[in-house]
């Protein structure tokens, strides 16, 4: 939280002028003052143990399921059953270490990083358009050499959450105006969303827009702007679906969604293969599941069962009961995270926490909705479960921020 005096006395800052906090530490005494107020490490009060516990439980279940889901694929495709799990486990350990470390870090320092991270995310989103491998006309992944692949959209989501929390907390009293409450966010979001659409990456765009909406909504933007936004978004989506060639791939997915068992054409059969195999897996699970490790569908029927469709294997092996428990764990995580955020000691922490937790919640819901063919197939990974080292580390780091918020939150932490 910024200096409350500054917040009340100084003229409100515009989006780009958050640097004023960075100018202050020029004065050594001010630095000390800030250090006193915002310790780099806020270990004084503990972190929220239920939230940490939920994260670790989900992470462990996620790793177990990743191993179970991936070993056949790993063996056939990479020659070793441990190909995916060994890599993911290393990343998980790194991620947990990072999470704990970050939880000691005073999240208020993130004010300083809001703009640089946003600019960095823009830079990477532009970079990915030109450098990444073209996979069927889609550019989403940056190659990071030994670190593997990285999706700039992951960073973009965090950047948006952070900059929104930053700006909203600074301009909280003017959130009901268009100039301070709507316009800056529209510009920021518009750039990111525009770059994502160029990739194109519809699912990330959707998540991003929903997250931004959530934060603005909580931040106090007038409801009529949401009305206008919904109307406008609806019109844009209609236009894109109906007229844009670029979105024809999304269109095909809509057709495949409506009838995954359609045998109308070879193209549709090929398109719906993944969804069909996912539904077979989920249905095979029944109430109690086939048992851990007993999935049949992971034997190359379900393509890349370690990625976006891992939950289908979870359903097949653990059944409805197991899947329900995992969903409840996620719901509890979201609930606890939001409770932490609501009790954060300032609006920045509150908004940041809600943004990060909602991001997890949204991904879980959308991922499982895709796996169950409740919504059309689109690439959304399942937090803590899906394979992907960099994204797991980013996720755990973000959870570390929530834990950091919990340290100063007035919540009961046991």
């Amino acid at each position: 939280m910024v200096n409350p005096k500054a917040e009340s006395k100084r003229p409100p800052v515009r989006g780009g002028s958050g640097q004023r906090q960075e100018q202050k530490p020029e004065n050594p005494s001010a630095v000390r003052k800030i250090r006193k107020k915002f310790r780099v490490f806020s270990a004084r009060s503990g972190m929220d143990l239920p939230f940490l516990f939920l994260i670790l439980v989900l992470l462990v279940i996620g790793l177990v399921m990743l191993f179970s889901a991936s070993f056949a694929n790993a063996l056939y495709r990479h020659g070793s059953s441990y190909f995916f799990i060994s890599r993911q486990a290393i990343w998980a350990v790194l991620g947990v270490v990072a999470m704990i470390a970050i939880s000691y870090f005073d999240y208020h320092h993130l004010h300083k990083f809001a703009v640089p991270i946003l600019l960095l995310s823009y830079a990477m989103l532009v970079l990915v358009l030109f450098t990444s491998r073209d996979i069927n006309g889609v550019h989403r992944w940056l190659e990071l050499g030994p670190l593997g692949q990285f999706q700039p959209s992951e960073l973009a989501k965090f950047a948006i959450i952070l900059i929104f929390a930053h700006l909203i907390s600074l301009n909280f009293h003017r959130m009901d105006t268009f100039r301070y409450g709507v316009l800056p966010y529209l510009i920021i979001l518009g750039v990111t969303a525009g770059l994502l659409i160029l990739e194109p990456h519809v699912s990330a765009t959707v998540i991003l827009v929903i997250l931004a909406g959530v934060m603005l909504f909580i931040g106090g933007v007038r409801l009529r702007w949401f009305g206008i936004a919904f109307g406008g978004a609806g019109a844009v989506v209609m236009y894109l679906v109906l007229f844009s060639k670029k979105f024809s791939y999304a269109n095909d997915r809509l057709v495949a969604w409506l009838d995954p068992f359609s045998t109308a054409s070879k193209e549709i059969i090929a398109d719906t293969w993944q969804t069909r195999q996912s539904l077979y897996a989920i249905g095979s699970g029944g109430l109690l599941g086939l048992g851990l490790g007993q999935s049949r569908q992971k034997y190359l029927y379900l393509p890349e069962p370690q990625n976006d469709f891992i939950f289908a294997i979870v359903c097949e092996e653990l059944g409805f009961i197991g899947a329900l428990i995992i969903i409840i764990l996620f719901a509890m995580l979201v609930w606890r995270g939001i409770t932490i955020s609501l009790k954060a000691k300032d609006k920045f922490g509150m908004l940041l926490g809600i943004g990060l937790v909602m991001q997890v919640g949204l991904q879980v819901v959308l991922n499982i909705a895709v796996v169950t063919n409740t919504i059309p197939n689109t690439g959304i990974s399942l937090p803590f479960f899906s394979y992907g080292g960099t994204s797991l580390v980013i996720l755990l780091a973000e959870m570390g921020i929530v834990l950091s918020i919990s340290r100063t939150s007035s919540i009961e932490k046991t």
């Binding site: 090929a270 249905g283 029944g286 029927y301 969903i327 009790k343 000691k345 499982i368 169950t372």
Partner: protein, 741 residues
């Protein structure tokens, strides 16, 4: 102003939290309930089906045997080359496409395109022979390609004798389904039941740790034993083909050999047929060239299809024709049975009869004058049969027409038998005087050749209408009989007494009557010729086109074999059945009757003209040899100056006409003498004998020469101008040129 969460933020957050939990988590839980608890079992079943690899085990198609278990059609193992695009990577795509395109002779780009499909199974080429399969296998091993190319066993149909009996056998399509002939008719027996192997497999087809295997063996198809006799069929086809060339036949020809007592078809041939190994190629070279010269387009496609349909069409079963005078044996049978006529009933032919103001001519327009019924048949005299038709009346005539099976399909076990159609004939109400008169001698209605020979069989076999058939037995894989054909006659249509009388009349006809071109000494041949105008062609194009046919039997004292020879649109020197079809009948019968075990029995007249076999006089003294030869009713002629015979022509045991010359060589030098074969065609018997004697050769005569009144030679077995040893026997065929019809 609170530092932390305001009331409104709190409210809005709680609202969102509830929205996410209720709508979001609620929706996915509802979806899971629906998928796992409500539709779970159904999806599970689908999943299991999906995970079970169902490998079809091909059943081997049954073999087709002739009546002596000679294989006429059999299946052999070939291979299917299948691409597994899912396992082809960008690394080996080019290698695989290159290798396969060379081995299989396919377009490389096409293979590359197909290797990018999102599938695990793409049939690249079927019916690949084992040597090509071995090449593919070697290519796979050499380049260490595990998955990506698969070889699956398949079967291919072989017809070892090419075009032999193609019309009866038919052929199979790309999925081994029968498309014509017995292949089509008995497809369900021949096919068998494919088996299957059900195993739990992962999506790339290797085993999953969950063992599940269920095997249902393929049941190989049943085999057919035909009534067709390879030897009979061989001679039939050979002679039929020769007749087509000789008589410049326009619309193909066909012939059937049938056992008159059982209806078993011993041979059935249509020439202008196809090679069942390659049925989609036009066998007729001129026709193929004509179609090849056509520009691509609809006209060419139509022409190609028409040409294929034509070569596949079984003329003997699917085509109808006016039987013409061959039908007179049916009218005659009806007349004798009903007692409206006897052998000696007198008739008088003026060359034409007026029926209901319409003049109907006899083929011999100046008439046959006074004749008995038998003479009338032997003359194939139309007015005689018009009168018999009139005596029978429409009702009785139609009764026999029906009884002899002309209003129904014969039910032969071959596909495509011409439809039963009332438009092909007149029933008793439609048989007005003119229709009755023309029907009585075989014009104005249409029948199929198989109907005609079946009715003809009933005329001579004691009066029984039999069921013609080409399959005698169906046997399974292990040789057990699945089905045997019932040869019980359908009905008796005339009394056996009448049948006997008809047999005698027909034998007389083939001995001295119009059918005598089919005569063979000793074999008691009976027969009837037929020449019918294709009236529909006349109406359509104004051209005179004919069908020349000959239907005969042997031996007439106990008829066994019937043969119908049929030429559609002969354009040679004659279009008459006696001249076109008769010699083919005679030649074929002469070749097949000894094979079928029919003994020659000679009449006294025949004995006098009988050929003898040359005695062996080699090594004897010239005088002894001369005596032996004279005792054998032969003439001896000596070449050389030696004392003993060193060689002789004809060689010992060879047949030679009575009073023929045996040439004796007394030294080796004289044995190298040769004489030139003279032209012996177009001569009377006396002239032919004289020419042969002058040239120093012997002639053996066949056809109408022995019984005919004015026989003329029309063929010789060794061409004129050839150098042969003195005394060589040249066979000369005779026909009766003026005894036509």
């Amino acid at each position: 102003m609170a530092k932390g969460t305001t009331i409104r933020m709190w409210r809005r957050t709680v609202f969102l939290l509830l929205a996410l939990n209720v709508i979001g988590f609620g929706a996915i839980i509802v979806s899971l309930v629906r998928l796992q608890l409500i539709n779970g079992e159904q999806l599970h079943t689908m999943a299991v089906e999906n995970q079970m690899q169902n490998t079809s085990l091909n059943a081997q198609r049954g073999t087709i045997y002739d009546c002596n278990m000679k294989e006429l059609a059999k299946s052999a193992t070939v291979w299917k080359v299948v691409l597994e695009p899912a396992f082809i990577t960008d690394k080996n795509r080019d290698l695989i496409a290159n290798g396969l395109s060379q081995i299989l002779g396919m377009d490389k780009e096409e293979i590359i395109k197909r290797s990018k499909k999102k599938t695990y199974y793409d049939e690249l080429k079927r019916k690949v022979e084992t040597d090509v399969k071995d090449q593919v296998l070697k290519f796979k091993n050499d380049n260490n390609i595990g998955n990506g190319i698969r070889l699956i066993e398949d079967y291919k149909r072989y017809y070892p004798y090419g075009t032999f009996a193609a019309t009866v056998l038919g052929f199979t399509g790309s999925d081994s389904q029968g498309l014509a002939g017995v292949e089509q008719q008995y497809d369900s027996y021949l096919t068998g039941t494919p088996g299957k192997l059900v195993t739990a497999k992962n999506a790339i087809g290797t085993d999953m740790p969950f063992q599940y295997e269920q095997k249902v063996d393929a049941k190989n198809g049943d085999s057919l034993v035909l009534t067709i006799d390879e030897v009979v069929q061989h001679f039939l086809e050979e002679n039929l083909e020769e007749g087509i060339v000789k008589n410049k036949v326009g619309e193909r020809g066909g012939a059937i050999v049938m056992n008159v007592k059982t209806g078993a078809i011993l041979g059935m041939a249509v020439k202008g047929d196809f090679d069942p190994n390659d049925p989609f190629t036009i066998a007729d070279k001129t026709e193929a060239a004509r179609i090849n010269a056509m520009p691509q387009g609809e006209a060419r496609t139509t022409a190609l299809k028409a040409a294929l349909d034509k070569q596949w069409r079984n003329k003997m079963v699917s085509d109808t024709y006016h039987p013409g005078s061959v039908f007179k044996m049916v009218t005659a049978s009806a007349g004798l049975e009903e007692g409206v006529v006897t052998e000696n009933s007198p008739f008088y032919c003026r060359g034409a009869v007026v029926v209901a103001d319409k003049t109907i001519h006899c083929w011999r327009t100046y008439g046959h004058g006074a004749e008995t019924f038998v003479e009338g048949l032997c003359n194939s005299c139309n007015p005689v049969f018009i009168e018999i038709g009139q005596r029978l009346g429409p009702e009785r005539f139609f009764k026999y027409f029906q009884a002899f099976g002309f209003t129904q399909r014969t039910g032969i076990d071959l596909p495509g038998e011409a439809r039963e159609s009332a438009s092909l004939y007149y029933n008793q109400n439609q048989l007005n005087p003119v229709e009755l008169a023309t029907s009585a001698f075989g014009q104005s209605f249409s029948v199929t050749p198989i109907q005609m020979i079946t009715a003809a069989a009933a005329v001579v076999n004691g009066g029984y209408l039999v069921q013609p058939h080409v399959v005698s037995q169906i046997i399974d894989d292990s040789g057990n009989i699945v089905k045997s054909v019932d040869t019980t006659p359908k009905r008796q249509v005339i009394s056996s007494e009448t049948s006997k009388r008809m047999a005698a009349i027909l034998q007389r006809n083939a001995t001295v009557g119009t059918a005598k071109n089919g005569y063979l000494p000793g074999y008691r041949i009976g027969g009837k010729t037929g020449t019918s105008q294709k009236t529909e062609v006349k109406i359509r194009t104004g051209k005179d086109e004919y069908i020349a046919s000959y239907c005969g039997f042997a031996p007439m004292d106990d008829p066994e074999i019937a043969m119908l020879v049929y030429y559609d649109e002969p354009h040679g020197s004659s279009y008459y059945g006696s001249a076109v079809a008769g010699p083919v009948f005679a030649k074929t019968m002469e070749e097949i009757l000894p094979y079928l075990g029919v003994q020659r029995k000679y009449t006294d007249t025949e004995m006098k003209k009988l050929d003898v076999s040359a005695p062996n006089v080699v090594g004897k003294s010239v005088n002894d040899a001369k005596n032996t030869i004279v005792n054998s009713k032969l003439v001896a002629k000596v070449y050389g100056s030696g004392q003993t015979v060193v060689s002789q022509v004809p060689e010992p045991g060879k047949t030679i006409p009575q009073n023929g010359t045996v040439v004796l060589f007394t030294d080796t030098k004289s044995a190298s003498n040769t004489v030139t074969v003279p032209n012996l065609v177009g001569m009377s018997l006396a002239n032919a004998n004289k020419a042969a004697a002058n040239a120093g050769i012997n002639i053996s005569i066949t056809g109408a020469a022995l019984t005919g009144t004015n026989p003329v030679s029309n063929s010789q077995s060794i061409a004129a101008g050839a150098k042969v040893s003195p005394g060589t026997v040249v066979t000369v065929g005779f026909i009766e040129p003026d005894q036509v019809e």
